[in-house]
């Protein structure tokens, strides 16, 4: 990584989506100047529809810019040879439902013309990394959203890319997966890879990114190294392992003694980028910057009437019971709702002994915690079971 030429460089990049008659419809990216340096983790932030994914697609050559210039590894995005060094995880999983995980990775590996043995060993390692080595023989169509996402991540890494583009990598992932991605980005960053990350999880962005750029309406509203953006000269932040209340109190007293200031807050630094982000977006909105994306959400619509919490649940539950789930004949032969529920529970749970646990469903008796517990136990296995298992 000796050469310090930027990996991605855009000058005055604009993307205008036109309609059928070639009239401008949406300005998705507006005069974007961007530079991503080798070895840095770059965060692309912005509200929904601010042009993050569009920018990424232009970088990848899936869209062509309307105006402006762009180069990746010093080449135009249409150059095929640079794709060898790029890994891309799109914002949703666009995988083939009829392939299993291993076949999927094989397909993409083949496109990099990897030798069979190396490909196989890489695939094994990647499957292990995303924790799907035991599900590798199942079709992707059967996968849950998060599982498919993990395969998407694995395919992005199959060519050991120098430049990794992750468009909202954590959507659909469980907390552990999210954590893993964060670790992964950090680790890859340490190894000198360049990463472009678009995400809405600002805490994580703040943790892993060297530099960020906040888009609004396709325009850059703020950009720079994270610490620099967030450092407020008027404030000082102390970061320490979790402090005992007594220590906190002492620190507070020390500060008061030394500076005579009352305005001391002690909190976790996680909120900071979020605050910053919201401030930037609000500023942009106040300055009535044009956006074709989403505005900040407003108040609840007034048709959502207010109801007592219990009553609401009750009405939903009671509405659910007579719902025509049953086939015609069972309705005619057994008109009593009480009986129907029995049928339901029989259908659902099979053995008659389990029936009582489903008596939660019929309307009159309100939901009891006691009963709830048994249902949960049935579903998850009782705590004793888990110990034994």
């Amino acid at each position: 990584m000796a050469d310090k030429r930027p990996i991605v460089k855009t000058i005055g990049l604009s993307k205008v989506f036109k309609d059928f008659w070639r009239r401008d419809k949406v300005v998705a990216v507006r005069d974007l100047d961007l530079e991503i340096q080798p070895g840095e983790v770059f965060g692309l932030l912005g509200p929904n529809g601010s042009g993050k994914s569009t920018t990424i697609k232009i970088i990848l050559g899936l869209l062509y810019p309307t105006r402006g210039r762009i180069s990746i590894f010093g080449q135009p995005p249409t150059d095929v040879s640079i794709k060898k060094r790029i890994g891309y995880l799109p914002e949703e999983s666009y995988l083939y439902r009829f392939l299993n995980a291993r076949e999927t990775l094989q397909l993409y590996g083949r496109l990099f013309q990897q030798a069979g043995e190396m490909r196989a060993s890489r695939i094994d390692k990647l499957l292990e990394m995303v924790g799907l080595q035991h599900q590798a023989r199942r079709r992707i169509g059967e996968y849950s959203k998060g599982m498919a996402r993990r395969i998407g991540l694995a395919q992005a890494l199959i060519n050991d890319p120098d430049f990794l583009i992750l468009d909202e990598p954590t959507t659909g992932l469980d907390p552990i997966g999210t954590r893993q991605i964060k670790e992964l980005i950090r680790e890859l960053g340490r190894r000198g890879k360049t990463i472009l990350l678009s995400s809405h999880l600002l805490t994580d962005v703040q943790d892993v990114c060297d530099r960020v750029c906040i888009l609004y309406g396709g325009q850059v509203r703020a950009h720079g190294p994270v610490e620099q953006l967030l450092s407020q000269e008027d404030f000082t932040q102390i970061t320490a392992p979790r402090l005992a209340p007594r220590t906190v109190e002492e620190i507070r007293q020390v500060i008061q003694r030394q500076q005579g200031s009352e305005a001391v807050t002690i909190s976790h630094p996680t909120e900071r980028l979020e605050d910053y982000f919201i401030r930037i977006v609000q500023q942009a909105q106040a300055a009535s910057v044009v956006t074709s994306g989403a505005q900040m959400g407003g108040a609840l619509p007034d048709f959502l009437s207010e109801q007592e919490g219990d009553a609401l649940i009750e009405s939903l539950v009671s509405a659910a019971v007579p719902a025509p789930v049953l086939s015609e004949e069972s309705v005619t032969t057994m008109p009593e709702p009480a009986v129907s529920t029995e049928i339901i529970s029989e259908l659902v749970s099979g053995p008659a002994t389990d029936r009582q646990s489903f008596t939660v469903i019929p309307p009159p008796p309100p939901v009891k915690e006691q009963v709830d517990q048994t249902v949960l136990d049935d579903l998850l296995g009782s705590p004793e079971d888990q110990h034994r298992g």
């Binding site: 990848l60 899936l62 060898k84 891309y88 799109p90 993409y108």
Partner: protein, 542 residues
């Protein structure tokens, strides 16, 4: 190459996983099983059963594969765009032209696979259906000789008696019953070969194997399950003949150019000359020459066929024409004949003859004698006049290849047509949504099938006088240009030839490969690549 193959293999796998291949294979099998039953007539000769089986299964096979190619080529690209899986492919080091080419190859791989399955089944079933014609019987040699039967493993006994043929015919396989009883089963290992010369005294004791239905056998083996080339009838210069006659008439003072239009007279004389040339009066004989026979193996054991259809003017008893045929120019080659014939008029008949009648320069002289002569003095019967109606009225056929390879070349032409359609579909899918692309490709198909018809329809009516008025002057060259490059599928349809046991030449199938694949499909694929390179795949696609 590796990347193209990855896309190709992926396309094939998609078709397999989505059960396309399975369902289509079942459909093809169903067609092969059901159609012969629908078209078969009880009591039809084996040859016509086999012929209608071949044409009624190969035609639907071609259509099914065409539809499948249209559907698959449009679907496999449109679907990937619609579901955006293409993002994942084009962000890999995969040039777009390789993607297009890989897709087309993938579709063609599916087609080839199904064509192979269908072709093999049809070929096998056709041979099974033909089997009754090859059934044999064991008879005493004497009986076989007396009735002029067709011997298995040997040339045609119908052609002449035993004695004259000894020098040409290889030894024939016979069986001699040890216990004096008729052998019931032919045992090739126990059969021995005996030269023709020695056969005559043994004719009572020996047994030979003959075809149970010799006519069926002959037609099947030499007219259906074969690939025959033709020698063409060389017609004389009728114009010169007419000119000469005209001169004669003038000299005789019969023709007066002031009263009759000379051109009209010439046309009439040409017609008359050609009619005369095709006509043989009662008791007369005429010689005809065939050309283009230089590829014929002139060995006497090689049997050629003369196929003819004659009509009879005047009275022909029982609609039968009696004639006698001689093959070969006696001044140049060993001639063969006479072959006496009694053939029903207005039907095609096949006369087998030996190949050594063909002259070394590849011409063959055939002399026909009309035996339907006047029946004695004072008889009111004047004899029938024999007439070969057209150039197809007489042709020489010779075996040049096997049925299997002929069918292969026929299917190759089908493959080329389908390849053209698949390329059109791939092209359309690069810029059209699935239904529109399908429609476009389907129109391409229809236009290519009906090109003849459409061309005629468009040429109907004068230029500039139609509904579009002067605009037609603008549209006409466009249509003409389009129609010039648009292929005419009917010129690549070899099915009638195959069914008729005529050779589908390698040149013909290569023409198909060059024009439909090398030019047509390539043009579509190139256009597709050009358009696809401009295409922003992440633009809204519905």
């Amino acid at each position: 190459m590796g990347r193209i193959w990855a896309i190709t293999w992926h396309t094939l796998r998609e078709a397999i996983r989505m059960k396309v291949v399975l369902v289509m294979a079942l459909l093809i099998v169903a067609v092969i099983v059901l159609i012969p039953q629908a078209v078969s007539r009880p009591g039809a000769p084996t040859t016509s059963i086999v012929q209608s089986f071949i044409s009624w299964t190969l035609m639907p096979l071609g259509m099914i594969l065409s539809f499948l190619a249209i559907f698959l080529s449009c679907q496999s690209i449109s679907d990937e765009m619609y579901h955006r899986q293409i993002y994942m492919l084009l962000t890999k080091p995969l040039p777009r032209w390789q993607y297009i080419l890989g897709k087309w190859l993938g579709v063609m791989l599916v087609i080839s696979l199904l064509m192979l399955i269908g072709g093999l089944i049809i070929y096998t079933v056709a041979l099974i259906l033909a089997m009754p014609a090859y059934e044999t019987r064991i008879v005493r040699l004497r009986d076989a000789l007396d009735t002029g039967q067709v011997l298995v493993d040997l040339a045609d006994l119908r052609m002449s008696g035993l004695a004259e043929e000894t020098e040409f015919n290889p030894p024939i396989r016979v069986m001699e019953p040890a216990d004096g009883q008729t052998p019931l089963k032919w045992d090739q290992s126990k059969a021995r070969a005996v030269p023709w010369k020695e056969l005559a005294p043994l004719a009572e004791r020996l047994y030979v194997r003959i075809y149970d239905r010799p006519n069926d056998y002959y037609a099947m083996e030499h007219e259906v399950l074969t690939a025959r080339a033709t020698g063409k009838l060389q017609s004389p210069d009728f114009l010169a003949m007419a000119e000469m006659r005209l001169q004669q008439l003038k000299e005789q003072g019969v023709f007066d150019s002031t009263k009759t239009d000379e051109n009209q007279a010439r046309t009439a004389l040409i017609t008359e000359a050609s009619q005369q040339w095709r006509t043989i009066g009662p008791g007369e004989q005429k010689s005809y020459t065939f050309g283009q026979l230089q590829w014929v193996n002139r060995s006497p054991t090689n049997i050629l066929q003369l196929r003819y259809k004659a009509t009879a003017f005047g009275y022909a008893a029982d609609e039968v024409i009696q004639s006698q045929w001689f093959f070969g120019d006696p001044r140049v080659v060993t001639f063969f004949g006479p072959v006496p014939r009694r053939d029903v008029k207005d039907r095609y008949h096949v006369i087998p003859f030996r190949a050594h009648a063909v002259a070394p320069d590849g011409t063959l002289m055939v002399t026909v004698q009309n035996l339907d002569a006047r029946r004695g003095e004072g008889s009111r019967h004047r004899g029938a006049v024999m007439n070969f109606e057209s150039d197809e009225g007489m042709e020489v056929l010779y075996r040049i290849g096997s049925f299997g390879w002929n069918m292969f070349r026929t299917l190759l032409l089908v493959w080329c047509r389908v390849a053209f359609l698949a390329a059109a579909g791939v092209f359309a899918a690069t810029f059209l949504s699935f239904p529109v692309a399908c429609l476009f490709t389907f129109m391409t198909y229809i236009l290519a099938i009906a090109k003849n018809f459409v061309t005629e329809a468009l040429e109907f009516g004068g230029l500039g006088k139609g509904v579009l008025g002067p605009l037609e002057y603008l549209l006409k060259p466009m249509f003409d240009g389009l129609f010039y490059i648009w292929p005419d599928f009917s010129t690549y349809d070899a099915l009638p030839q195959l069914v008729d046991g005529r050779v589908v030449t390698t040149v013909w199938s290569l023409t198909g490969v060059v024009q439909l694949v090398g030019l047509g499909a390539l043009m579509f694929l190139l256009l597709g690549c050009v358009i696809f390179r401009q295409r922003q795949v992440a633009e809204l696609s519905v």
